[in-house]
């Protein structure tokens, strides 16, 4: 009998031969060098879309909700679909920065800053829709519990009000989390910047950070607490969004599977969006060493798991429609599959259930082009999922006599397209002026960062001995 052990090297998180200095150089290069022409072009396009959005909103406020395609049975149209879609996309950022932090996943450092920025901008886009959907936007402050001249208060038993609190808390906490993470990196930019204006701007927001260990000690504690707070928060946000539907008694909505199903779907679409953006940005900004293929593969795995959770939820919806014996519930199910919106259902099935199955193959998970394609499909599929949920249950409700076909108008469409203008305007500003990767966190996961990787005698860095993460055992009797 013999046993052989084989040491399998643990793959490095940051590829290439990077030192602390080269990491600083790589990441601060973009914010500190002159603006490239291509950026102006992209920013101009994004601004045009943003102006479109502002125009569409202005016309909506002027003319009223009648410019949208919402009709009598279907009172919630694209606005709610887009809201849920954008909020869902936001979930990836907090999942990466908070949940993966608590699980000590070092690879998150490559993408957390990027994904958190995406979260904040996606939630901004999301927040627009319910706000403008109230009709009289000048009375929007009624949703907040502030004393007013009518001495009226909001109705705290309404899931729509819970949503106001959930989304605004989510946005605020995401910004705080993002900013706390940025402070040390802003200090790096302050110290690296040459021009007076950038020194002043970065210096102001760095608040005088020195990198003192006593400060880092509180900082790490703060980061952990924020991660601990954001973890239940991110799960609660889409849960509360799903309550908008699930707490009602409408068939197809009134279902206990909605909260977990919505959360899984949110993470699924969020990872798809992070991948879409990351695969473009890493190429343009030369971040391949940090946002490398290993990280793409891990994200693909998360997408595969959540995608299959979503697929399982679809299956359970069909099962419950039959098992409950409730005719309206099964009616809605059949309307999904063969009803007037069945085309949407089959697009959704194709994009959300079929495409992630390709991720079972390692070669697909590590293929940049295919991953990009799948991420686009998932983004589209998740939009159609919300379209089906919001539309079918309303447009084809209990009595066929009241059914109507819902279709969007020109204004619905350009408002949605316009939110991409807001999103990309913000995102391009972020890429241009802020470090797109968390500098101090990436340094922290370099092998040189660990004092144990230094020789006791010479005090020099020694390439870490391969860590035995996989032990191969062969036994012969």
């Amino acid at each position: 009998m013999s046993t052989t052990y084989q040491y399998v090297p643990k793959p490095k998180i940051v590829k290439g031969d990077h030192t602390f200095g080269s990491i600083t150089e790589l990441i601060t290069k973009t914010p500190l060098s002159p603006t490239p022409k291509l950026w102006y072009l992209a920013f101009g396009c994004a601004n045009l879309l943003l102006i479109t959005l502002l125009g569409a909103i202005s016309y909506l406020v002027w003319e009223g909700l009648g410019i949208w395609g919402i009709n009598n049975p279907a009172g919630w149209g694209w606005a709610i679909i887009n809201f849920v879609w954008w909020v869902g996309i936001g979930h990836a950022g907090t999942l990466i920065s908070a949940i993966l932090y608590l699980f000590r996943q070092g690879w998150r450092t490559a993408i957390n800053r990027f994904a958190e920025a995406m979260t904040i901008f996606a939630v901004m886009c999301a927040g627009i829709f319910p706000a403008i959907h109230v009709g009289r936007i000048w009375a929007i402050y009624w949703v907040f519990p502030v004393p007013n001249q009518m001495s009226a208060w909001p109705n705290f038993s309404s899931p729509l009000l819970w949503d106001v609190f959930a989304v605004s808390t989510y946005f605020t906490v995401s910004v705080i989390f993002w900013y706390v993470g940025l402070i040390p990196d802003l200090a790096t930019l302050r110290d690296k910047a040459k021009s007076k204006i950038s020194k002043l701007a970065y210096g102001t927001f760095a608040l005088g950070w020195t990198g003192s260990f006593r400060d880092w000690w509180n900082y790490e504690k703060a980061y952990m607490i924020l991660a601990g707070l954001a973890t239940p928060l991110v799960l609660s946000v889409h849960t509360v969004v799903s309550f908008d539907f699930a707490v009602s008694v409408i068939p197809g909505w009134h279902s206990t599977i909605f909260p977990p199903y919505f959360v899984a779907g949110a993470i699924y679409s969020g990872f798809a969006m992070v991948l879409t953006l990351m695969l473009i940005a890493r190429k343009i900004y030369g971040m391949e060493d940090i946002m490398n293929i290993d990280i793409m593969e891990k994200m693909n795995l998360v997408m595969m798991v959540t995608g299959n959770l979503v697929a399982f939820s679809y299956l359970m919806e069909g099962f419950m429609a039959w098992y409950s014996g409730y005719i309206y519930e099964s009616g809605i199910f059949w309307l999904y599959v063969v009803g007037p919106y069945a085309w949407g259902f089959w697009i959704l099935m194709f994009c959300n259930v079929l495409t992630p199955q390709f991720l079972w193959f390692r070669s697909v998970r590590r293929n940049v082009g295919l991953t990009f394609l799948i991420s686009i499909f998932v983004n589209v599929g998740m939009w159609f999922e919300r379209f089906m949920i919001a539309t079918v249950s309303l447009a084809t409700d209990f009595m066929p006599s009241s059914w109507d076909y819902y279709s969007p108008t020109f204004w619905d469409i350009i408002t949605y397209i316009g939110t991409f203008g807001l999103f990309f305007t913000m995102f391009l500003l972020f890429l241009r002026f802020l470090p797109m990767v968390a500098i101090s966190e990436v340094k922290g996961v370099l092998p040189q960062a660990d004092p144990h990787n230094y020789d006791d005698e010479t005090q020099e860095y020694v390439e870490a001995p391969n860590e035995p993460i996989v032990v191969k055992q062969e036994q012969t009797v």
């Binding site: 030192t19 602390f20 200095g21 600083t24 519990p145 001495s151 009226a152 208060w153 909001p154 109705n155 705290f156 038993s157 309404s158 899931p159 009000l161 819970w162 609190f165 959930a166 808390t169 906490v173 705080i176 989390f177 706390v180 040390p184 790096t188 110290d191 690296k192 608040l207 005088g208 950070w209 020195t210 990198g211 003192s212 260990f213 006593r214 400060d215 880092w216 000690w217 509180n218 900082y219 790490e220 504690k221 703060a222 607490i225 707070l229 239940p232 928060l233 609660s236 509360v240 500098i439 101090s440 966190e441 340094k443 922290g444 040189q448 960062a449 660990d450 004092p451 230094y454 005090q459």
Partner: protein, 181 residues
């Protein structure tokens, strides 16, 4: 530099890598210094033992924020729903704990997060308009790839020569006196 009429803030020493920095911090602590700090571009794990830093009290601040948020949210909702503006909506009970859960949770998290941010800034003394340590030109490396220790003149045992010798004995690559202005 004319240093005769300037107040000494402390002595700053640079080390090559995190290992040397930890060893140096350990020596500084063992030599009995209290007012000293180490500076690095990322938090070095194990430094808390070398420097003898106590547990951060931030958790208590956050607990205060969280309790304020949670209790405040509950109190507001109970008062509004039962006293200030009781509305009968589809016969739902007015005092109904389950419907208060989402908003209580959200406000607990919200105020805890604010407490974390402001607690962090308070404990670290930020924002700080001026810090003498930035007078040292080399110190801009601390946010890039430099590893520094600074023993401050406020320490009872502080003497410029003694501290400089201590750093030299432990292999500092650069030693510089930090002045207040």
């Amino acid at each position: 530099m004319n240093s005769d009429n300037k107040k000494v803030h402390g002595v700053l020493a640079e080390f090559r890598n995190p290992k040397e920095l930890i060893d140096a911090a350990d020596q500084v602590r063992k030599s009995g210094y209290k007012d000293f700090d180490t500076y690095a571009p990322y938090p070095i794990h194990g430094m808390e033992e070398a420097m003898g830093v106590k547990k951060s009290p931030l958790g208590w601040i956050v607990l205060g924020g969280g309790l304020t948020g949670g209790v405040g949210a509950l109190a507001l909702m109970i008062w509004v729903m039962t006293t200030a503006w009781p509305l009968n909506i589809s016969g739902k009970p007015l005092f109904d704990i389950p419907i208060y859960v989402p908003i209580t949770f959200e406000l607990t998290v919200l105020l805890s997060s604010f407490a974390t941010l402001f607690g962090l800034l308070y404990l670290n003394g930020l924002p700080q308009l001026h810090n003498p340590i930035f007078n040292v030109e080399r110190f801009s490396k601390a946010s890039d790839d430099g590893f520094f220790v600074c023993i401050e003149s406020s320490d009872d045992l502080f003497s410029e020569d003694k501290v400089t010798n201590l750093f030299r004995d432990h292999g500092a690559t650069h030693i510089e006196t930090v002045y207040d202005s």
